[in-house]
Amino acid sequence: MGENWESLQLPIANVERIMKKIIPQKGKISKEAKKTMQECANEFISFVTSEAAQKCHNENRRTLNGDDIYWAFGSLGLDNYAEASSMLLLKFREAERIKASDKAITFQHHQHGVEDHEYNYEHHQLS
């Protein structure tokens, strides 16, 4: 059996939670409105991703990265999204740098026989 429609959308519970943050507590949301929002979010991702992918293709690059998404937002007139994503990328890359330098310090400790500390790492793989 193929995948059902729900599994190809952002989960309705997550979408609903975000919508509910916006409307007053006593406000309600119809089921159809939630599903429409899921579709719109889906189209938002597809629309921007296609634009970014086209740029990568034109520049002979195989990997779509955060900068491409940032660029695509700007290209499509979604300027406030471009701004938000540039700030996010700055923070994210800073966090990654810190993790990487922690890792380097651990490695040096190993080499000098210092007791190992436990670190948690999120390993980001290229897919």
Binding site: G27, A33, K35, L64, S85, A95
Partner: protein, 117 residues
Amino acid sequence: MRQAGAYSGVMYWKTGPHSLPLARIKKIMKKSGEEVKMISGEAPIVFSKACELFIEELTKRSWMIAMQSKKRMLHKEDVASAILATDVFDFLIGLIFNETAATAGDVGESENISVGC
């Protein structure tokens, strides 16, 4: 040293947990076209935040329209009107005028989309 999986669902870092699942976002990105080949780890993270902002913005605009008719419930027609009223959301116009798998045959909730000015 414990290494978590690449997309373990929720990722905590300086700006807090993500409200949308990264693996699902990546799946949607991959389905968007033939040209999408490899996706870096940071791209779904950017979309996690951007989608949250997008849903917030569209909900806010839709709710303001619902309020004009003194409704207490947000309906699909309010979302449709908000899309029509917002230039940068023109890419969504095709969506709201099509019956989709999601909205076709919703018993008791079928609505006419009124094209408001």
